[in-house]
């Protein structure tokens, strides 16, 4: 009978364990941080040979027309920002490098936005406009943007009487910035 009592004790043990309360433990993990103002601009397209004109063909035609211009989407900017932003443009440095002592006018370079990107066109850059050596706004928007494609066409004015043969170049700087 003593063993009966022990056995009954184990029955009690089993019952006690079976009906014992669950134990619960918790831990927290906080995910966070401060996201800074971010924007980025990408550029595609090469205009370094826009003025490489062909004799007895495109060259003469371009001078006759008074200009040579790129394809409508020859330069494509891709914009990303996580808040309101502005896109500006200026030419770099002193402007044109030209043959000899010739000083080609910087106003002979024109650009325009040819597509309809997200944002508001500034300073009428949806038609050909000149640039300056200081940043001029082309496009802006009041909130973040992703993969906003801006297609830009470039035109260079040509004049039979001024634009002598030789190597020309000018660099445009496109700047995107987040704004207050």
């Amino acid at each position: 009978m003593r063993y009966v009592a022990i056995a009954m004790g184990f029955v009690g043990l089993a019952a006690g364990m079976a009906f014992g309360a669950d134990d619960v433990d918790t831990q927290n993990s906080t995910v966070g941080g401060t996201i800074p103002e971010l924007c980025q601009i990408g550029i595609a397209g090469d205009l370094s040979a826009l003025l490489t004109l062909a004799q007895d063909g495109a060259g003469e035609t371009a001078y006759d027309a008074g200009y040579v211009e790129s394809a409508a989407a020859a330069t494509t900017l891709t914009l990303d920002a996580n808040k309101q932003w502005s896109l500006g443009v200026n030419y770099s440095g002193a402007g044109w490098t030209a043959p000899g002592t010739y000083d080609k006018a910087e106003s002979d370079l024109l650009i325009q936005i040819t597509n309809t990107p997200t944002g508001t066109v500034q300073n009428s850059y949806d038609s050909y406009q000149t640039t300056s050596n200081s940043k001029t706004a082309m496009l802006s928007h009041t909130s973040g943007v992703s993969n906003n494609s801006v297609e830009i066409q470039t035109r260079v004015l040509l004049d039979w009487t001024q634009d002598i043969p030789g190597a020309y170049s000018i660099t445009l700087v496109y700047t995107m910035e987040t704004t207050p």
Partner: protein, 215 residues
């Protein structure tokens, strides 16, 4: 030796009981077999309620006391700090994170250490909503976690891949037996969107809960 019997009862006792012959004490009022049953019932009660008692039957009571005082135990520990996961760098990880659409911690950025004396479940839930800059309401589904190393247990509810969480517990790992120091690595991902996720301070908390239970 004389065996006590009813016929040998000679001494009067209180309560109508009879005395053994040739001895000076009376028979118990209750048969010893009934005492055994009563003691068994006491053991059962002790077993059910986990009460330690002292008894003349040292062997059986001691066994009951030692075992009965072990409750079901479950302990969860955590290591790893994700409070700076969204502290992105401008002109670097910030833009690249937005480009890929997320920022992701190391695979073992959070390590949960599970110890349990019985079957157990590990769950996760959101403690609250995102705190965001200004009036922006970042979706809670932008927070994802996954178990990258489970140790013991069975991954539940697809938590081996990134899953979002709810304000209520979602079981992510379970096991039917006890475990000691089982390390569970958890990776965290926050979705990012250029157009939605404005600059500023963000925070959200995840609560991991370990429950030890009956298998």
């Amino acid at each position: 030796m004389t065996t006590p019997s009813a016929t040998e009862d000679t001494r009067p006792c209180r309560g109508g009981r009879r005395a053994f012959a040739n001895v000076s004490f009376c028979r118990p009022a209750v048969a010893w077999t009934r005492c055994v049953r009563a003691c068994a019932a006491v053991f059962f009660v002790v077993g059910c309620f986990g009460v330690a008692v002292q008894s003349a039957d040292g062997e059986s009571v001691q066994r009951g006391t030692v075992v009965f005082e072990l409750p079901r135990l479950a302990q969860l520990q955590i290591s790893g700090d994700l409070s700076g996961l969204l502290a992105l760098d401008a002109d670097g990880t910030g833009e690249s994170s937005y480009d890929v659409g997320s920022v992701t911690s190391a695979v073992d950025a959070n390590t949960l250490t599970v110890t349990a004396t019985d079957a157990w479940d590990l769950s996760a839930r959101l403690t609250g909503d995102w705190t965001c800059p200004g009036t922006y309401d970042k979706p809670e589904t932008d927070l994802l976690i996954r178990i990258t190393s489970a140790g013991a247990g069975t991954i539940e509810n697809g938590a081996g891949s990134f899953i979002s969480l709810a304000p209520t517990d979602t079981m992510i790992l379970s096991d039917g037996s006890a475990v000691s120091g089982n390390e569970v690595d958890v990776q965290t991902r926050v979705l990012l969107d250029w157009e939605s996720d404005v600059p500023g301070a963000y925070a959200i908390s995840v609560t991991y809960t370990l429950v030890g239970h009956v298998p």
